[in-house]
């Protein structure tokens, strides 16, 4: 279904769910061992910095230059789109690796990795083929489930929470900066966001900033909840939220983890679909019209290449690299916008 301009408010659930996915399913890297105090400060700092940068970006970049960028008619546009495709596909590959590992982590008898990865990509490809409008509708339902699941997780864990489990640290500044530096402080989903046909100056920037702020708040609350229940163990676990889900119970009901895992896999699928959408849109601009049908296979190939690259990198470096790649892509878009406006 073609659309002229998507209302930006409809994108909020999609962006929020994609940005918050890593709060519940962390990438399988070495735990950062940061206390919740550091996590809260780190999220506040990142959200403030990213929102400021986004406001500056949306102020400087015009809708017309983004339209020109999406078509890919200019050589400069192709160069920028190529870099966006690399950033989005790397993040998509990292998401694929995380989703497959998480499915293996929660399964008693796991399916073959190739089959799991193929199914995830298949579902994401189908979502992309249906269009971003359909994705936003699905995201609305997934967002409601996600938030209800979060409330259930909090309610079922609070009986085991103790204030005395919260940790205090003397060198909180160092731990905050370390967590910020090695985390995914600039998600590639924001790149995919600017590729969608939305009127950025009429609410697009507000939508993005609200999603970033809401996601940061979600990260902070989940870090505090994990530490209230698990104490210093929370920072040493690879999947603290999954541990909370297995621990919690309400009255006679135990083992809500099956419910939470189902919702979190949906969230990962949606995130994969959104990143694949960004990659596909960038690749579409690079290819001539007669090769338009190859844009989805091209995006899938790039995502798989991103997944292999991510697996080969040292642990903990994928998030940082993805953030730097996204930052440079945003810089390239700004430069392109300045050049096209000067030229016109």
């Amino acid at each position: 279904m073609k659309y002229k301009n998507l209302p930006s408010a409809r994108l909020f659930p999609l962006l929020f769910v994609c940005l918050s996915a890593e709060a519940v399913v962390k990438p399988f890297t070495l735990p950062d061992r940061a206390p919740a105090q550091a996590a809260v400060w780190s999220e506040l700092l990142c959200a403030a910095a990213v929102c400021t940068a986004l406001i500056f970006f949306f102020h400087r970049v015009s809708d017309s230059s983004l339209r020109l960028l999406r078509t890919g008619r200019l050589k400069q546009a192709k160069a920028v789109l190529a870099w966006i495709a690399v950033s989005a596909s790397f993040a998509g590959g990292a998401c694929l690796v995380t989703a497959e590992r998480f499915y293996r982590y929660v399964s008693d008898e796991p399916t073959l990795s190739l089959i799991t990865a193929a199914l995830i990509l298949l579902a994401a490809t189908y979502a992309v083929s249906r269009g971003v409008l359909t994705m936003t509708r699905a995201a609305g339902a997934v967002c409601v489930l996600f938030l209800m699941g979060a409330v259930l997780l909090a309610a079922s864990s609070l009986s085991s929470a103790r204030l005395e489990n919260l940790m205090f640290s003397d060198d909180i500044l160092r731990k905050t900066l370390r967590r910020t530096a090695f985390g995914n402080w600039l998600p590639a989903e924001l790149l995919c966001f600017i590729l969608i046909k939305i009127p950025l100056k009429q609410g697009g920037s507000k939508c993005a900033c609200r999603a970033v702020a809401a996601s940061a708040a979600f990260f902070a609350v989940s870090a505090v909840l994990a530490e209230l229940v698990l104490g210093e163990q929370a920072g040493a676990l690879m999947q603290p939220m999954h541990t909370l889900a297995r621990l919690g119970g309400l009255s006679v009901f135990k083992r809500f983890d099956a419910l939470h895992v189902g919702i979190w896999l949906l969230v990962l699928l949606l995130r994969q679909a959104f990143l694949l959408y960004g990659t596909r849109t960038a690749v579409r601009g690079l290819l001539p019209d007669r090769w338009a049908s190859f844009c989805i296979p091209g995006a899938i190939a790039l995502t798989l290449a991103g997944a292999f690259a991510c697996s080969a990198l040292p642990q903990g470096s994928a998030g940082v690299l993805s953030s730097f790649a996204t930052l440079s892509a945003f810089g390239a878009v700004l430069l392109f916008s300045s050049c096209t406006e000067v030229g016109s």
Partner: protein
């Protein structure tokens, strides 16, 4: 698009039919581990079930399989190999530690089960007074023991037992492990005492009213049932809705952590007879004095020895972590003079 939709629909047929059926699995309901001279002894309690049963209702004849090894995984593997089915640990809610763990640090065992994805995170841990050989003799009544232990663990909204996620094992295990009493002759399981560990060394046994107060301070219960012996007479008290309010007055360097226990006495008997209005005030004051004395006895064996299992120093750190760190370095933090406890239980 139809091709994609068809492929996605085809995934509905991925139902895991080739997976091991429940009838071919050994449902492990409890694990027993103990230190031995050579290493570790492990026993698993396995329930048999029909092929069509779901795991949660696996009951019937329980069997105990045992093994030994140099380390915990080896001992468990040996025990699993004594039977032919694939072990299924998702229903294992109990970790029983043997008599040897009352003399040697249980940290290696707790650390093994505390690892991520190693076990159910609500695994309840109990000490027992049984050696590996004595535990193996308990096969006949073990189902009743497990049922009772699970009931105890589920009490107080699931906070009743010591959970594996609470085990702090950095410098050896420090904490309070409840002792589950049962034997080959008696399959009724009770918890009447707990062993206090201080950095891997068992240093005290806590029982009776002291154990109840310790559970309250650890947030595991809001009810107290105590027997206070006064000369030849006995005061029996049941308290509900007990809470401990904590307040740090002043900075950690100069202030005092005030703890106030409040609650309602729902049942009070003195010398076997119910207490009525005129004597109730005197009896309540007696109870309050007793609980205050009990608190300071607990502080003597925990906080004063820098084994702060109740997290009392957290309230000082909350005021000022820098000052608290300085006091800890100078050795002045764990001074019982920094604590003030008052008990205000009321009989209604």
């Amino acid at each position: 698009m139809k091709i994609f939709a068809m492929l996605l629909l085809a995934t509905l047929f991925l139902t895991g039919c080739s997976a091991t059926s429940l009838g071919d699995r050994a449902v492990v309901k409890a694990v027993y581990l103990d230190h031995t001279e050579e290493g570790y002894a492990a026993s698993i309690v396995v329930y048999g079930c029909e092929p069509t049963t779901d795991a949660a209702s696996a009951e019937g004849k329980a069997a105990i399989y045992s093994g030994v090894g140099d380390d915990v995984p080896q001992a468990l593997a040996q025990a699993e190999q004594q039977q032919t089915k694939e072990p299924f640990y998702a229903q294992n809610g109990l970790l029983l530690l043997g008599r040897g763990c009352r003399e040697k640090d249980p940290a290696p065992i707790l650390s093994y089960f505390g690892e991520e994805d190693a076990s159910r995170k609500d695994l309840a841990v109990y000490l027992t007074e049984l050696s590996p050989e004595e535990f193996q003799q308990c096969e006949k009544g073990i189902s009743d023991v497990i049922r009772e232990a699970e009931r105890l663990a589920a009490s107080s909204g699931g906070r009743g037992a010591f959970g594996i996620h609470e085990a702090k094992c950095e410098d050896g295990f420090s904490g309070l492990l409840p002792v589950l009493r049962f034997s080959e002759e008696s399959s009724s399981a009770t918890v009447r005492s707990a062993v206090l560990f201080e950095r891997g060394v068992p240093c005290a046994s806590v029982e009776g009213a002291a154990l109840q107060l310790a559970s309250l301070l650890l947030g595991k219960t809001s009810e107290l049932t105590m027997e206070i012996t006064q000369g030849e007479e006995r005061l029996e008290v049941a308290v509900k809705g007990a809470t401990v309010r904590k307040n740090m007055s002043g900075s950690p360097a100069e202030g005092v952590l005030e703890l106030e226990l409040s609650g309602t006495i729902v049942s009070l008997t003195w010398g076997g007879k119910a207490v009525y209005a005129r004597e109730s005030k005197q009896a309540s004051e007696e109870v309050n004095r007793f609980v205050e004395k009990l608190f300071y006895e607990l502080v003597q064996i925990t906080f004063e020895r820098k084994n702060d299992i109740f997290g009392l120093s957290w309230w000082m750190k909350e005021q000022s972590s820098t000052q608290t760190a300085q006091l800890e370095r100078s050795g002045e933090l764990y001074d019982p003079g920094r604590l003030s406890f008052s008990c205000h239980l009321r009989y209604e």
